[in-house]
Every structure is written in structure tokens, then in C-alpha cells.
């Protein structure tokens, strides 16, 4: 898949969602935004993204719950997910701990503030 891949940004913070969308679009990706887990589950069905950039801490349905729902559908079993979180990696007993990748069955786990270059490299690698 090339730079025309479709990426869904799931982020409840509108500013952050908009900026990540701009970063992705600047690299030629098609980007769509969803603002919570429930919204994202519906859009996955309608927009069929190639990869999901997913914030962990969101109201209503957080990133872990979203991932769990997502994976319950066989067609999304291998859809790449990159988790973003602002929780410090060394905080083990948080509700959103370091082992989030394992818990959420995501491919990558990036700690905010992420560098745009790092996010783009990760996406490129997962899509290649």
C-alpha cells in the first residue's frame, strides 16, 4: 500500500485530531477523524481504513475497549492500530499501563508528545 492509504485518527481532542490529520495529509495519506470509540467503530465499517491511529484515554469508550470491540470482528483482526498515550511509560499501575500494546492488541504504542516523523515512520512501516 502506498501513500494513498486511508488512515483513521481516533482522538477526542479536536485540535490534536485536526493536527494529526494535517500531518498525515501532508504526506499524501487520506485521513478521516473520529472523536470517540463508538463513533470510530461505526466509521470503520463505513470508511474501511487501512490503519488506525488511536488515542487511549477517551470518554465513553476508551482505546482499549475500542480495540477489543474492533478485534471481535474477524475482518478487522489484522487491521494495524497505533496507540497514542500521554501516560508516562514508567507508571505501571495506571489504568492505562505500559503493557497497553498487549492489552489492546495493537501493533505500536507511542508516548505523547510524539514526533510527527516518528508517527509517519511507524505508519509507513506498518503499511509496507
Amino acid at each position: 500500500m502506498g501513500p494513498k492509504a486511508k488512515i483513521m485518527v481516533v482522538e477526542d481532542n479536536l485540535d490534536e485530531a485536526k493536527l494529526i490529520k494535517m500531518v498525515l495529509e501532508g504526506e499524501g495519506y487520506e485521513a478521516v477523524c473520529a472523536f470517540n470509540g463508538k463513533d470510530a467503530l461505526e466509521k470503520v465499517q463505513s470508511d474501511r481504513p487501512d490503519l488506525i491511529v488511536l488515542d487511549v484515554m477517551m470518554p465513553e469508550m476508551d482505546g482499549f475497549a475500542f480495540c477489543s470491540e474492533l478485534r471481535s470482528s474477524p475482518e478487522n483482526e489484522h487491521l494495524p492500530v497505533v496507540l497514542l498515550t500521554a501516560v508516562a511509560k514508567h507508571i505501571q499501575d495506571s489504568k492505562y499501563p505500559l503493557n497497553g500494546v498487549l492489552r489492546a492488541d495493537a501493533q505500536e504504542y507511542l508516548e505523547k508528545p510524539i514526533r510527527a516523523e516518528e508517527l509517519l515512520e511507524t505508519i509507513s512501516r506498518l503499511l509496507s
Binding site: 477526542d12 481532542n13 490534536e16 485536526k18 493536527l19 500531518v23 507508571i91 505523547k112 514526533r115
Partner: protein, 506 residues
Amino acid sequence: MTQAQPGKPNCWDFMACGYGPDSTSPCVVVSDQDSEGTNGGTNGGRLCWSVGGTLSGERELAEGARTGNCLVCPFFHLVKSQEGPAFQLFKLARGVRDSEQLQQTIASVESLMAIHEGLRSDFDLGQTIRDITEEARRLTGAQRSVVLLLRGTSPALHGEMPLRGQTKSVVISLDEESAVGFAAVHNQIVNLHHIYGRQSPDGVPAFNPSYDRQCSCRTHSFLAVPINDPEDRAIGVITAANARKGFFSSDDEWFMEKYATEVALAVEKQKFVQQSVAVLRLGAIGETIAGLSHCIKNIAQALRAGSHVIKRALKTNNLQDVRAAWEIVDRHIEQLADLSMDVLAYDPVVQEPSKKTGLNPLVEHVVGLFREEARARAITLAFSPGADVETARFDHLGVYRCMVNLITNALDACPLSEGAVTVATQRTGEHEFMLSVADNGPGMDEQTKAAVFDLFHTSRPRRGAGLGLPTVADIVNRHNGRVEIDSRPGAGATLRIFIQENVAVV
């Protein structure tokens, strides 16, 4: 011998000590027929603390039947609560129950128990020791009483005693030749009388005259009882001097031992409270740092992504993207500035002195700061000044910060069209006034209302760090005030803060 009444166990039932009536028990409680029926028990079964003539009676009870202090015994408290006003504390010889001396003694024991109960709630160690000292003095009929505690690294006992309306510090060296030092070092009660009338016999410590010099008095009888920590190490001595009756009796010794136990419990509780506070502080600091880190990371995230977009857009001369990204970056820079202000305002150490300032002009000023923003967002911002608040005295900076936070929140909660925020002041008591901020936003459910004063809780992650309302609560608490939230989902929200006037401010 009567049977135990339903729900009213005898001590042997409650303690399951194995020394009940069916055993070949040597326990005097079981065979104490004089106490039959007292507190609804069988023989001494519900008066065990008094059997043998003393409250604890350890020496006369079978080994294993009872240990420790009866005042901390759950059975003692069970009987006391079950019997209520009819509770009988002492084993009494018939006919003396109404004697004045007995009533006085019962009152004294009740006060001992009240002190013990007091230790269960929040307390001030200094005040508790003063209360215990006064009760010990009154109960033993002493002229004065002092609690002396080992402090610091110096081998000396420190205490305080009231003297001619003032509090005088007393320091006694830990010299084992003296009565106080002997009591602490050897963990023994020292009971002296006719102090200046004759020499102390061999093996009995002498009275330390420095005690009299410091207390500006002359002692003729003196009782020193060691205070021990749970490991039985001496931490101090409780003393009584000059018994009204000329000497301190063995009953006085016994009561003073109980007071010594209460002092030890108070000291232990103080240690526990200090440790708990330290742990809570550490926890709060950790939580604060984690929360701040989270907020700052989110801001940094926007700044990094924005910077990336702007750099790339400048290369391609895409000014539309530059503008769009810059707006977001700009907001986050503001958010960072607000966060640092919130952190400063949240610091409980930062307290501006109160000034005599007009409440309405101050609130009007704050409302004025938001008029432009309200107009830009088509929100009606109104101020309804109270008529009788102009003499109110309060913390100028604190109220200012509260109103900034509350109005910011209210504006953010407003709907996109026909938003309305109303700010009001009102006097609600002789020394109390109220500030309120009402919005017509989406309102809050019970869960949200319960969480809004938690650090870093925010319903608007785009703007708020979640420090605003905790800051308000902190400021209001400093004024012995309170915050009320009146809100329902779909029905807007009104936050009211009630502030006690600082009447000391002139």
C-alpha cells in the same frame, strides 16, 4: 446463678477464654456472687473489669482471662453500649452507691473514658495532654500535675504546667537518683510523701528540688508514674504533686497508670497521624506530578504536530495550513500559560493577605475581562450585583481567581447559540456572602458533579487542565466557605461559593 440473657453475653462467652461456669475455673469473676445480675450478667460476667476492686483487676483474674487495659476492651464497650444510662461501672457494696465520694469517682472515670473516646477522633496532641493532665490533677486531688515526655536527643523530660494563668515549661533531667528520673529509667511508680520531713529510705529515690524551683512551689507529696510506648520503653512520666489528703493512695497510682496509658496512646496516635499525613502528601505530590505531566504532554503534542505542519506548509507556501495550524498552536500556548497560573494558584502556601476591597467592583472587573470573549461567542454575560455586600471583607486575590475560573468554565459550557452566563453577588449572613455563576450549558449529571473538584478532572480537554475548580475549592476552604453546584443534565449549571468574611481584616 442466673443464665445469660439473650444477646447479653458474659465475659467468658465473649472472650471464649474457657474459664466459664462449666470449667473448673479459678477465675474470680465466675464465682463473684456479689456482682450477680449487674449489667444483666451472671455473677461478675458483665462487670469483669471491676471484680477484685479495680477497674482492670488483672492481678486477681485467671491468666488468659484478661490482658491489657479494659478501656480498650471490646467487651467493656459492648456492655457499656448495651446498658446505656443503666450501665454500672463499678462493683459496689450495697448502700454506698449514692455516696458523694463514689459519685465523684464515677464522674472521674467517665472523664477518663471521654478522653479515651476523644483519642479516636481528630485531635491535637498538646491539647489532649493538657486535658489528661487536668483530669489527673482533679482526680487525684493534687495541687498540680505535669506530663513530662522525653524529647530530642537530650536525656531530659520536657513538660508544661499551668502557673498563675500562664503555661510554664518544665525540664527535668533524666537522673535516676531523682523521683521522676527513677520512674522513667526503672519503669516503676514512685510515690513519695513527707518529702521535706524525713530522709528517703535506702533504695527510694529522692525528690528533685529543681522541680519545686521550676514550679515555684513546695512539694510535700509526689507521685511519678512512667509512660511507656507499646514496646514498653519509657517515653515519659506523668506526675502529681501535693495530694489534698496528704498522700497519694494506691487507687491514685492505679488511675495515674491509666492516664499514663492514655498519654502513650495519644503519642502513638500523633505518630500515626504524622506518618499518614506524610504518606498522603507524597501521594498528592505524585498525583499532581502525574496529572501535570499528562496535561503538559498533551500540550506538547499539539505544539510538536503544529510545528511540523507549519514548517512543511511554509516550504510549499501553503498559508492556509499555516494559519490553521498556528491557531491551534496559539491556543495551546495560552493553555500552557493558564496551566502555570493554575499551578501557582493551587499552591496552598501562596496566600495573599486580605484587603478591604469592594466586592462588586472586583467582580464587575472580572466580568469585564470576559465581555469581549462573550461577545465574540454570542454569549450574553450579565452581572447582578448584590446591594448589601459593599462592606464585605475578603481575600481579594482569592476571590479574583475563583471568579476567573468560574466564568471561564461557564463560558466554555455555553451552547454555540444563545449562550447566557449570569454572575451575581449576595449577602447570605452577617459574616457570609455568596458569589454565583450560572450558565445555560448542557448541565452535569451526579457523577460529573462528584468529580469536578478532583485534580485534573476536565470536561474540556481542548482547553482545561482540570486545575480550575480544585483551585476554587482550595481558596474557598481557606475562607471556611463552601461550594454548591446546582445542575441537572440539559438544565445548565449554577455554581455558588459561600465565603466567610475575614472579620479580622480592617
